[in-house]
Symmetry: C2
Subunit: 227 residues, 2 copies
């Protein structure tokens, strides 16, 4: 199934105007996010974990401890549901009923496969680190064979993915527009505080005055905060 043709599950019924099946939109949301929520049903319970991820073309890459419940079940064939969501603002309408949130979200349904080949696994983990901070994997020490065995990596196809977006202003009913109630949007976004150098955090470490790496000095998916 192509990303352009919604499946029964990715076909958004409520607020269909907010639905986008376009793969470029799905990818742009996935590429901006840092964490997803991944869920699957095991023995009648829906287990859910917030976790880091990466994207490799048409696949979402997830990793975690080898014993992680959700990743283990997904490797054994349990179907996964994964969401990535941004909160973009509070929508403050004239009526409480029309209060809303501006957001962008992606939902993916699918069956993942475990990546076990050591070279492919190392490449997938590198992709996850690169997703977190582009350029970082070349700066840090790569994983050892033992570290690779401690980590489980799975790949989830993005065939059944959809995006839902609410953006813009207040959606008040026409008859409410004359009310003496202020209405508007408070935009929200991710911001980064000042970097904490580990040599300052770690009391036993003598400062070694390493400069902040190139990966951190380039523009990121956050604003620099004045606070």
């Amino acid at each position: 199934m192509s990303a352009g043709a919604p499946s029964r599950r990715t076909s958004v019924r409520r607020h269909a105007d907010r639905a986008e099946y376009d793969r470029a939109k799905v990818n742009s949301i996935l590429d901006e996010g840092f964490i997803c929520h991944a869920a699957c049903s095991v023995d009648g319970t829906v287990w859910m974990i917030p976790t880091a991820y990466g994207r490799d073309g048409d696949r979402l890459l997830l990793h975690g401890a080898a014993g992680n419940h959700v990743l283990k079940a997904a490797s054994a064939g349990a179907e996964l549901t994964v969401a990535v969501t941004f909160l973009d603002g509070l929508v403050l309408a004239r009526s409480t009923f029309n209060h809303s949130l501006n957001y962008r979200s992606v939902i993916v349904f699918g069956t993942a496969s475990e990546i076990t080949d050591p070279a492919e696994k190392a490449a997938a983990l590198e992709r996850i680190v690169e997703h977190m901070l582009p350029g970082r994997s070349a700066e840090a020490r790569p994983p050892t064979p033992l570290e690779l065995t401690k980590t489980r990596v799975i790949a989830l196809p993005l065939d059944e993915a959809s995006a839902k977006v609410r953006a813009g202003g207040v959606g008040d009913q026409p008859e409410d527009l004359g009310l003496p109630v202020w209405a508007g949007v408070l935009p929200l976004h991710l911001a980064a505080g000042p970097v904490l150098d580990d040599d300052q955090i770690r009391p036993e470490g003598a400062p070694r005055d390493l400069p902040a790496p190139a990966s951190l000095t380039q523009p990121g998916r956050w604003s620099r905060d004045s606070a």
Copy 2:
């Protein structure tokens, strides 16, 4: 079951040092958040929605359109799993293996009940608006009886809730501390951009110069951004 005694499901096995069953910790995370991810299994598929919420003592309040898939199933007795997660920072270690995220998350398992009594329903919706922005429900027009019927509200007990937190610095292995690799933490947080007045957004509306309401001028759960 009390919030102090973990159930089989809320007992965190991996990184047990990151687990907190304390209700005060759970509440503080829930009270700071704006959106949750709510999931339940229906006919073999795990459905998940990002949605606003509120807290009323020992209950989490969720609402949505009367026909919403997840809320409808939850009202009919399907068990819910709900997560609220904050991304607090990127943890940039000397090894790629020890890269991590600072985060705070709450997971709740439970069976919700629908709130159908009109007065109780109106109070729950008020609580959800107050959760979004304290003071706002007194400023905006309250819901009409018709608007109440269009909305489904459910309450999820917080009996089976747990928090998991990763905070602090880099967790490198001792043998990596001498590597010539910069390590540290990039703190991340929610920031608010300048408020967008609806009278400016809405082209047909003549500016009426209503001042920003009290609810918006008090300190919020965000920093004010310089951008």
